[in-house]
């Protein structure tokens, strides 16, 4: 009996087949599309923005390398110092309020009550509603002349004599902006914290109650430490989003009055888009980069530690 030897056909199909069957190459193939997408959509624009920040690029004109001139110019302006202070105040206040608000919300939702599922779904509305839509509503609520809040407080209840200058006083404008950010962000914090709380072992909590711990003590001594890694990650991710917030100040205050609510992204936009100073606008975005990279590194370390635990 003759046996015909099997000859491996040397075709491209066979080559691909070999690659797909090798663990060493399969990993690269699977990660390839995502890597390519990130390279084209994220890394390239980022690298290009970094390049522009070192140039005198203006709209419609070629760019010339100017080194750190844009950064030096920015540091000499009150606009940039206002931007930094505003961004820090906005981010810090919004995060603290969202964190404590989210914890309180999660603690409340963790108790069984009739209609809990519907309430949870409804609470997510501010978060899932398009920001443009919700901010338009808030801009009417805070309107300088037609504010419904002022109408109720001044005209209907007579509690205050003068309308509250929500968007026309510098401090009130920042407070209004923070309030809307917190309103939009609390549901996400609350639902995430709730999921974390519900993963904490009930036996441990019940054991602490048997030992005489109050609900308050039980929460701070057992639940809170258990969900702390989740809190840290949510805070870090939210810090990145809040620090780079654009749509809210753009739609609600346009950075005013007197630049009191302009944040990094809005300053970058106004410099590069309305004023045509693209190099300067890019430099503003780049000043955020060291802080953001630090936050990303911390968040990655937190995730890794959590996985190890």
């Amino acid at each position: 009996m003759q046996v015909t030897p099997r000859v491996q056909p040397r075709t491209s199909g066979a080559f691909i087949s070999r690659l797909l069957h090798k663990d060493s190459s399969l990993g690269y193939i699977l990660i390839g599309p995502a890597f390519l997408f990130l390279a084209v959509m994220m890394a390239y624009p980022f690298a290009y923005a970094m390049y522009l920040s070192f140039t005198d690029k203006q709209i419609g004109a070629p760019a010339s390398f100017t080194g750190f001139e844009n950064y030096a110019k920015l540091l000499g302006t009150s606009l940039f110092s206002k931007t930094v202070v505003n961004s820090l105040v906005y981010t810090t206040c919004a995060l603290v309020l969202k964190c404590f608000g989210g914890l309180a919300l999660a603690a409340l939702l963790n108790r069984p009550f009739i209609g809990a599922r519907i309430v949870k779904a409804l609470l997510l509305l501010p978060w899932i509603m398009p920001t443009v839509f919700s901010t338009m509503i808030w801009s009417w609520i805070f309107h300088p002349t037609f504010s419904i809040v002022n109408d109720v407080l001044v005209n209907r209840l007579g509690l205050i004599a003068q309308p509250i200058p929500f968007l026309r006083d510098e401090r009130w404008a920042m407070a209004s902006l923070i309030f809307v950010n917190v309103w939009r962000g609390i549901p996400f914090f609350g639902i995430t914290f709730l999921a974390a709380i519900q993963s904490v072992s009930t036996e441990v909590i019940e054991a602490s109650k048997i030992d005489g711990a109050s609900a308050w003590v039980s929460f701070w001594k057992i639940t809170f430490p258990a969900i702390l890694p989740v809190i840290i990650i949510v805070m870090l991710i939210s810090t990145i989003g809040t620090l780079g917030d654009f749509d809210l100040p753009f739609l609600l205050t346009r950075g005013g009055p007197n630049d009191s609510t302009t944040l990094f992204a809005l300053t970058a936009y106004t410099l590069s888009m309305s004023s045509g100073l693209i190099g300067l606008g890019a430099a503003v975005t780049m000043t955020m980069f060291p802080a953001l990279i630090l936050l990303v590194v911390i968040s990655l370390i937190s995730v890794r530690r959590q996985q190890q635990d």
């Binding site: 302006t77 200058p165 009055p257 004023s275």
Partner: protein, 459 residues
């Protein structure tokens, strides 16, 4: 289109290439054929805004060209979009040119994208100063000069804002002028037939009106790109203040500016709506239409909607020239313009220029002004005798207004980049908003002078 025109389109070079010679020859032949056949007769436009302008025959060389138009919609008066599109479509049909329109209220990012990608638009329609795009706009001096000479020479605002480094960056299509919109019925209750002629008299009646819950509502705010640039300047200039000296140096920090601010603080406190320092462009319209305020400064965009939707307000209101102050009486003009992005080349450039040249000529563009009913006024004196002025007696003020208006930073011979940035960043609106919010004119002026120093550094 003459041989000279063709030469100027090739970067202003006067030598005639073989191509331009053939093109010019073709045009001459085409003109002769048209004349022989009775061609070139203005076509009757179809659809659109009804009485659309007429299209004259254009050179055959345009056939196959494409013109992409990018601009914001005339949201207050959509009929104006209709006039432009009716003319352009007729012109396109007659010349075998493809014309496309893209309209977006968030126009700036689209213009920036078109400039940087060198595509997506040929003609842009914009309202802020063109100096910001100076490196991306084609020289349209030939069009501006021919239209200007046809109209009796542009009012100073035209070349002031459009000429940069000796060339016209765009052709102004007119000016928005802000006049006083006031409730005449309420003023009559105070014993006045018309709005006072001076700001002092206006303050006196404003106090009485505010006491009855009918305050003034002027957009003295940095939240409005149109009104926020216009209304504060009406006040600044009326008190003798100005942004610049003719030599380009800053003139804002002056006793006249402080006098304007002090007066406005008093006007705001004693006669104004508290919210006016935070108004956006639509807020004063809404407040007036809701009968919350008795006076504001605006174009006709309160009155025209009121005629349709709020006839009681329309019946009770009227318009007046801005009152005069110690420095005189001033109007403010904001100039929308058309420009050609300089990546437009060859037949597309010829077509874009021809479309602009024909549409903006008096015989065609009168339809546009007429449809606006005073919303946009001419910059050419010869329009005074054209039948473009609103028939409604409550809008008759437009004819007195159009020669009164000045653009932002008008003392300069031409608008500088700093002046354009000050307009873009609503610096004068910010000055008044700050002064009125805090009651401290000096501190507000100091703050704004720092902002201007920032702009000088950045620009």
């Amino acid at each position: 289109m003459s041989t000279k025109d063709l030469a100027s389109e090739n970067g202003g070079q006067t030598h005639i290439t073989r191509r331009t010679f053939l093109r010019a020859g073709g045009l001459t032949m085409f003109g002769s054929v048209l004349a022989a056949c009775g061609g070139g007769t203005p076509a009757v436009p179809s659809g659109g805004a009804g009485a659309a302008p007429t299209v004259a025959g254009a050179p055959v060389v345009l056939k196959g060209a494409t013109v992409k138009f990018l601009g914001a919609p005339w949201s207050f008066l959509p009929a104006l979009d209709g006039v432009i599109e009716a003319f352009a479509n007729d012109w396109a049909t007659q010349n075998g040119v493809t014309v496309t329109f893209e309209r977006d209220a968030q126009l700036l990012p689209k213009i920036q994208t078109a400039i940087e990608t060198k595509g997506g638009a040929n003609i842009i329609q914009y309202s802020s100063p063109p100096a910001i795009f100076s490196k991306a706009l084609a020289d349209v001096s030939d069009i501006a000069e021919s239209i200007g000479s046809e109209g009796g020479g542009y009012l100073p605002a035209g070349p002031y804002q459009m000429v940069f480094d000796g060339k016209w960056l765009g052709v102004p299509i007119g000016q928005h002028n802000w006049f006083i919109n006031y409730r005449q019925d309420w003023l009559k209750e105070e014993g006045l037939d018309t709005f006072p002629d001076t700001w002092e008299e206006a303050l006196a009646v404003g106090k009485k009106l505010k006491a009855k819950g009918r305050p003034f509502g002027m957009t003295l705010s940095d939240q409005a790109g149109g009104d926020g640039n216009a209304v504060p300047r009406l006040m600044l200039w009326a008190f003798g203040g100005k942004e610049f000296n003719p030599d380009g140096s800053l003139a804002l920090d002056s006793p006249e500016t402080l006098a304007a601010l002090e007066f406005c603080i008093q006007l705001h406190n004693e006669a104004g709506d508290p919210g006016e320092v935070g108004y956006d462009d639509g807020a004063n319209n809404a407040a007036f239409l809701a009968s919350k305020i008795s006076m504001t400064a605006n174009v006709n965009t309160i009155y025209l909607p009121a005629l349709e939707k709020n006839p009681e307000v329309a019946a009770g209101m009227n318009h007046a020239l801005p009152p005069q102050g110690p420095g005189g009486r001033f109007g403010y003009g904001q100039l929308p313009w058309w420009g050609i992005l300089n990546h437009t080349q060859g037949a597309d450039l010829d077509a874009a220029k021809d479309l602009m040249r024909q549409f903006l000529s008096i015989k065609n563009f009168s339809t546009f002004y007429k449809a606006g009913q005073g919303y946009i006024l001419p910059l050419l004196p010869n329009y005074e005798s054209e039948p473009i002025w609103p028939a409604d007696p409550k809008l008759a003020i437009a004819k007195d207004m159009f020669k009164l208006a000045r653009p932002a930073g008008y003392s300069l011979p031409n608008q500088t980049k700093l002046a354009a940035l000050m307009q873009d960043k609503i610096i004068i609106g910010k000055l008044f908003s700050q002064a009125l919010s805090t009651g401290n004119a000096r501190a507000a002026l100091d703050g704004v002078m720092k902002d201007i120093a920032d702009l000088k550094l950045l620009a």
